[in-house]
Each structure stands twice: as C-alpha cells, then as structure tokens.
C-alpha cells in the first residue's frame, strides 16, 4: 500500500516537473522570439517544410474524412428521415472539429516527429554545442523559427483541410448520394457562421504552436545516443497529440459554450 502511494506520488511529482519544464521552455521561446537576432533564412525553410510540404497529407486526410463523414451522416440521418442535413453537418463537423483536429494530429505525426528527431540528432552529435560555441543561441536558431512558422502556417493548412474536407463530402454527396450540386454548396455556405471559421483558424494556430514546441522541447532535452533520439521522437509525438486534443476541448468550450 505504501509502495503504491509512493509510486503515485513519484509519478505525480514527475508529471508536475515536466509541466514546469515545458512552461519554462515556452517562456524561453517567447523571450527569444522578441529579442534579436531573428534567423529569417531558417524561418523561411521552416515555413516551406511545415506548410508547403504538409499539403499532400493534409489534403488526403481531409478529402477521405469528408467523404466518409457525408456517408455516415446520410445513413445516420436516414433513421429519422433527416438525410437532407448532410451538407450542413459535413460543413460544421469539418470546420469546427475534424478539420483542425485531424490536421493538428497529422502535423503532430509529420512535423513534430521530424523536428524532434532532427534536433535530438543535433543534440547527440554535439551540433547544439557547436552552435553555442559559434555564438548562436539554439533557442533562437532552432526553436523560434520552427514554432513561429508552425503557428503562422497552420491556420492556412487547417483552412485548406476544411475546404478539401467539405469538397470530399460534396463529391460523395453529389456522386453517390444524389444531392444537387448547386444546392449542396449553397447549403454549406449559408450554414457556416463566421464564428465557425474563426474558431477553426484559431485552433489551427494553437495546434501548430503545440506541435512545433513539443518537437523542439523533446529534441532539446534528448538523452545520449541513438536511443535518446528515439525516445525524444516518441515523447514529442505523444505529448503533442495529447496536448492538441486537450487544447481542442478547451477551445471548443471557449468558442461554443452557450
């Protein structure tokens, strides 16, 4: 019994310590964001890597999910003869929830993992030490460009995901479920409110921030050797995914309660 309590206590303390270190890391990121120098070239590369190169995976995920969503709503709605709501529910479902969350999780898989692995490799091969000896702060050179780029580009990715998701529903709706093309689009556009779209983009920015920050945090604190890189990558992806889902609930509550 004592052992059990001790284990729970140790786990709690460990968890709190991690939260504390993440908070300090976040504060340090902001501090280095607002002080010179700013590494523009690295920022540009991060925008390209995180934004442009993520488009295929975001597009595919959204397209197929939008299509499946349309089928589900149609068959579910048929139980109480509400098949007609497919365009509206696809739009709301994609824009409010599935778009940001799916894109966020795909970015956690694709971007967080690669940031963590890259920075952890730099750590274990002493490249981070080398940066310091060359008067370059690793937070400014590595963390700030990636976190800033992810935060700025993710709303765009989520926007693309929302549109392609709705497109997926539209294709299934018109080709498979017999909806009229023009009225499907009209219903979608009429139904969406500004609040839906703003919440979607804000979620994107927050999720992008989390995804890049976790990659950098776990990469920077990687242990030694190849196993250090593996552990950093795994820890980063898990933390990013969980935090994105938690943040999603909080943001949904903030935007849509009442």
């Amino acid at each position: 019994m004592m052992r059990l309590l001790a284990m729970i206590g140790a786990a709690t303390l460990g968890g709190l310590a991690t939260v504390g270190r993440m908070a300090l890391f976040t504060a340090s990121t902001f501090r280095h964001l607002v002080t010179q120098p700013f590494y523009g070239r690295e920022f540009g590369q991060a925008l390209f890597q995180i934004g442009f190169l993520s488009l295929p995976v975001v597009g595919l995920t959204a397209l197929f999910t939008g299509g499946a969503l349309a089928l589900q709503i149609y068959s579910g709605g048929a139980r109480f003869s509400a098949e007609a709501v497919v365009p509206q529910i696809v739009a709301i479902g994609m824009v409010r929830e599935l778009g940001p969350v799916l894109v966020g999780l795909m970015i956690a898989a694709r971007v967080t993992s690669s940031i963590a692995a890259e920075i952890a490799t730099m750590k274990v091969t002493e490249q981070i030490d080398a940066l310091v000896t060359l008067s370059t702060h690793p937070m400014k050179y590595l963390t700030v460009p990636r976190v800033l780029a992810a935060t700025l580009v993710m709303p765009a990715l989520v926007g693309v995901g929302d549109i392609i998701g709705i497109l997926g529903g539209y294709i299934v709706g018109t080709e498979r479920l017999g909806f009229n093309a023009a009225s499907y689009l009209q219903n979608t556009v009429d139904f969406l409110e500004q609040r839906d779209i703003v919440s979607s983009l804000v979620k994107g920015a927050v999720f992008g921030f989390i995804a890049a920050l976790m990659g950098c945090y776990y990469g920077m604190k990687a242990g030694r050797g190849a196993s250090g890189v593996g552990a950093a990558t795994k820890g980063a992806v898990v933390a990013a995914a969980v935090l994105i889902l938690v943040a999603n609930l909080i943001l949904t509550e903030a935007f849509f309660s009442i």
Partner: protein, 246 residues
C-alpha cells in the same frame, strides 16, 4: 591566459573531474593526454562553457567565467569537436563560415573565404558545396578544423584532431595546428591520444588521470619523467598503474 583551479564535475555518481588545476600562458600550446573516458572532453567543455562545473574556478584572460559566463568570450574561441559536429543541414562552406554568415558580408565573399580555409586543411574547392554527410570521417574532421579556425580565434580547442585520420593527414593537421599557434599567436588546448601529435604540437603537456592532473610539464620533460602513469601512457604498455579495465 587560462587558469583553472579545483575544477570538479560529477555526472550522477560518476565523479569525472575531481579537482583539476591547470594553467596555460598566452600563445602556448597545451596538449592534454589521458586514457579515454577520463574526462578530457568534459574538461574542455567546462572551459568553453558548454558544461557548468560543480565547483572550482576558471579564469580566462583575467575574467572569472564561472561567475560572469562565457557570452562575451565566445567570439574569441574556436573549437573542433571530437565527432566534428558539423551542421548536416548546411553545405560545407556554410559550416566553415557559419559565424560570419550574419555579419553582413556577401555570401559570395564568404564562399571564397571558406574555400581558402578549406585549402588550408587540405581540402579542394569542390568540397565546399557538398553536405557533411557526403564526406568521409577524416574529411569531416578537417572541415570541423576549418570551421574552428575560420574566424581567426585567439583561443582554440581541439578535441582529438587526428583521431581517425591516416598518418599523412595527421601530419598535415599537426603542422597546421602548430602553424596556427605560432603564426596567429593563438593559445591552444589540444586533446589527443596520438603521441606523434603530442610531439608535433605541444609546448606543455598535461596528463589527466583519476579526475586530476597527474602530471604537467614542458614537452622536453615528457620523455625524461619517471612518473609511472605518463611512462605507461607514452609507451602504450598494458601493465602499469593505469588499469586497463575501465
């Protein structure tokens, strides 16, 4: 130029440095020898500020860096890492001129400067546009060396500069290090296992063993010393006071 006193550093329960005292004068070349895992790299990293020592004092050019930090000294340092530590996302020339990339000089000029530094370490201009992963270990080492000397540092640290190089290239690197210290008047601390390097580079030699400086003296005194640790190290003998099981 550099005075170290009572330096200690422990990782977990591994007491690596247990009170290191060491001194190097300006323009002198100190070579640190010692078995692998004795904390030579840790010592250099403490001096350059990458590792914070647990206790002790490091004074560089009159400044107590254990109090004031290293930030204002970093531009006077150059360091070659044991495993080169080249930035593998950047081409070789940007590695070499990394410190100058944001100094306002044109990229074209810097590329020429890099080619010049690469020539000094025996690498042709075609290497400049390659990426570190495309080079052999020995070539990476020389690129690391070029990066360390690119900004004409006053104090240079070389962590095993000739490890993994063939004897001829080792000779080239040894000569280069000697040249840099004599021509530029730089102060150098070199870690090596390679006795030919010791003789080629050193003014002073310090041997680390058991977390302390076991022996320290002029290069001329090295071969005359009757210190059993030093004798075992320079003769490469398996029997002696240094245990072979570490």
């Amino acid at each position: 130029m550099i005075t170290i006193s009572g330096l200690t550093k422990t990782f977990g329960n591994n007491a690596v440095l247990r009170g290191v005292d060491l001194h190097v004068d300006k323009g002198q070349s100190l070579v640190v020898i010692g078995g692998s895992g004795t904390g030579k790299s840790v010592l250099i990293k403490c001096i350059i500020g990458l590792i914070t020592p647990d206790a002790g004092q490091i004074i560089i050019d009159g400044q107590d860096v254990t109090r004031s930090g290293h930030d204002n000294l970093l531009h006077r340092f150059g360091m070659l890492f044991q495993a080169s530590a080249l930035f593998d996302s950047l081409p070789v020339w940007e590695n070499v001129c990394f410190r100058m990339l944001r100094s306002g000089q044109s990229r074209g000029d810097l590329r020429d400067l890099a080619a010049e530094k690469l020539r000094r370490v025996g690498l042709g201009p075609d290497v400049a546009d390659k990426f570190p992963a495309e080079l052999s270990g020995g070539m990476q080492k020389r690129v690391g060396l070029a990066r360390a000397i690119a900004a004409d540092p006053e104090i240079i640290f070389f962590d095993e500069p000739t490890a993994g190089l063939d004897p001829i290239m080792s000779g080239v690197i040894n000569d280069l290090i000697r040249e840099i210290t004599t021509e530029m008047g730089a102060t150098a601390i070199t870690i090596t296992h390679d006795m030919s390097s010791v003789h080629a580079i050193a003014d002073q030699v310090a041997m680390i063993h058991d977390g302390v400086v076991q022996w320290h003296g002029n290069i001329g005194a090295l071969d005359q010393t009757d210190d059993a640790h030093v004798r075992q190290f320079i003769t490469g003998s398996a029997t002696g006071p240094i245990p072979t099981l570490r």
